[in-house]
């Protein structure tokens, strides 16, 4: 019998409070998750419309036009846009992402000076700075349901840096939302834009024979940056969705753990109480026996 009755009682009270907080946080995350999922639905319409046009242009063999985002350059520097979260309490969300990133860098045998990191979220930024990587851009404080306007700054910076040849290839690393209980690490090469394996979306894509106004090349000049921006925005949305799911999960298991801890503590408390009563009774009967 280690802890005193009062100690156990105090621990029970504090664990109960923790449980209350974690279960509240779980509910908040779940609410945010359904909010962002609704938003993601309306974004999909936009992404599909863009995708169809790009796929159509690609099928018309308007390919590898120099000076556009389709142009393949010699890769001297590899850019990674890493989308992490700002805060913790999201389970393995960040650590899986960062571990995966390090594995990729190692696998491709890139030295820190060949890598340009663009970090969204404080976790990634701190992580790579500590390891001596070149963090060319960082953005903190993406809101819970990011609008396109809000992330426009990130998206524009990324494409401008690419245009200015800060890096010659961009891979976006983020956690893809699979379901409420599963996230997958995803690494997608987004720049230069590749159209080789582009399939039309489910709605069947575009089939008509289009007039291009002013010219196909100029249309590409407008559509491709917009397409690249929408890809990056899509990745950020997806990552945020995954973050809310991860957070809801982490908090629900924290709540479950707290319940278990409380159960054990209550058992301990009852045992301690009983043994205290037994001692008291023994003392009283002992005292009576002494009087007789």
């Amino acid at each position: 019998m280690a802890a005193s009755l009062q100690d156990i009682q105090r621990r029970i009270a504090s664990t109960k409070k923790t449980r209350q907080i974690t279960s509240a946080m779980q509910m908040v995350s779940t609410a945010k998750l359904s909010q962002i999922q609704r938003h993601g639905g309306s974004y999909t319409t936009y992404a599909n419309a863009l995708h169809d046009v790009v796929a159509h242009l690609a099928n018309a063999h308007i390919n590898n036009v120099s000076g556009t985002l389709l142009e393949q350059r010699d890769v001297k520097k590899v850019g990674f846009l890493v989308i992490s979260s700002d805060r913790g309490l999201v389970g393995g969300y960040n650590s899986t992402l960062l571990k995966g990133m390090m594995a990729v860098i190692e696998e491709r045998q890139l030295t820190p000076d060949q890598v340009v990191i663009l970090a969204v979220g404080g976790n990634a930024s701190d992580f790579f700075k500590k390891r001596g990587f070149n963090v060319a851009y960082e953005y903190r404080g993406v809101s819970d349901v990011p609008t396109f306007n809000e992330v426009r700054e990130i998206v524009k910076t990324v494409t401008t840096m690419y245009d200015n040849e800060v890096f010659d290839e961009l891979t976006v690393a983020y956690q893809h939302f699979v379901s409420r209980i599963q996230n997958d690490l995803r690494l997608e090469k987004m720049l230069p834009v590749t159209t080789d394996d582009m399939e039309p979306t489910e709605e069947g894509g575009l089939k008509a024979d289009y007039e291009m106004d002013p010219s196909p090349e100029q249309i590409l000049g407008v559509v491709l940056p917009q397409y690249a921006e929408s890809l990056v925005y899509g990745a950020i949305l997806d990552a945020k969705t995954a973050e809310h799911a991860a957070s809801a999960n982490a908090m629900s298991s924290a709540t479950d753990n707290a319940k278990e801890v409380i159960n054990t503590l209550e058992l301990q408390f009852n045992r301690a109480r009983q043994s205290a009563i037994t001692t008291e009774i023994t003392e009283i009967t002992g005292g009576m026996a002494a009087l007789d």
Binding site: H39, S42, Y43, T45, Y46, A47, A49, L50, D52, V53, T147, F148, N149, R152, K156, T160, L206, K207, A208, D209, Y210, E211, M212, D213, P214, Q218, I219, G221, V222, V223, Q226, E229, S230, Y233
Partner: protein, 138 residues
């Protein structure tokens, strides 16, 4: 939808902001100049300027104007899809906010020296002016 009307959809990352099934005429400002699209137009893809999109429904006397910030329009089988990263209906535009955005952009234009910032401020100015124009007709 009858044979003299077309379906107009304006799509942005925040969803479909405008969906109208019985338009008779849509006026677009493309990078090559103004284009009017009516029903049964040949399939076309064209790049848009930061400009106004006017949708007219003569049969019902409806006229709607939207401010779009670039993007492109795609027309086929009587459906016109405008895909832009931002679009607002004239009635939804907050003119005071647009005015302050305009002032901010002008101030930045006067102060900034680097080419990139100037370009950015010019785009912002263009957007603000366009929104004010669509909302107030000025």
């Amino acid at each position: 939808m009858n044979e003299h009307s077309l379906h107009v959809k304006v799509v942005t990352p925040n969803g479909v902001v405008f969906d109208y099934e019985t338009a008779t005429l849509v006026v677009l400002s493309t990078t090559g100049g103004e284009v009017g699209v009516m029903a049964n137009h040949a399939p076309i893809i064209s790049a848009l300027k930061v400009s106004e999109v006017k949708i007219v429904d003569e049969a019902n006397g409806v006229e709607e104007r939207l401010a779009v910030s670039g993007g492109f329009a795609e027309f086929s089988s009587n459906v016109l899809t405008v895909v832009s990263d931002a679009a607002e209906r004239a009635a939804d535009i907050d003119v005071t906010r647009a005015e302050s955005a305009k002032e901010r952009a002008e101030r930045r234009l006067a102060e900034e020296s680097s080419v990139r910032d100037v370009e950015r401020a010019q785009v912002a100015l263009l957007r603000a002016v366009n929104r004010i124009h669509v909302a107030t007709g000025k």
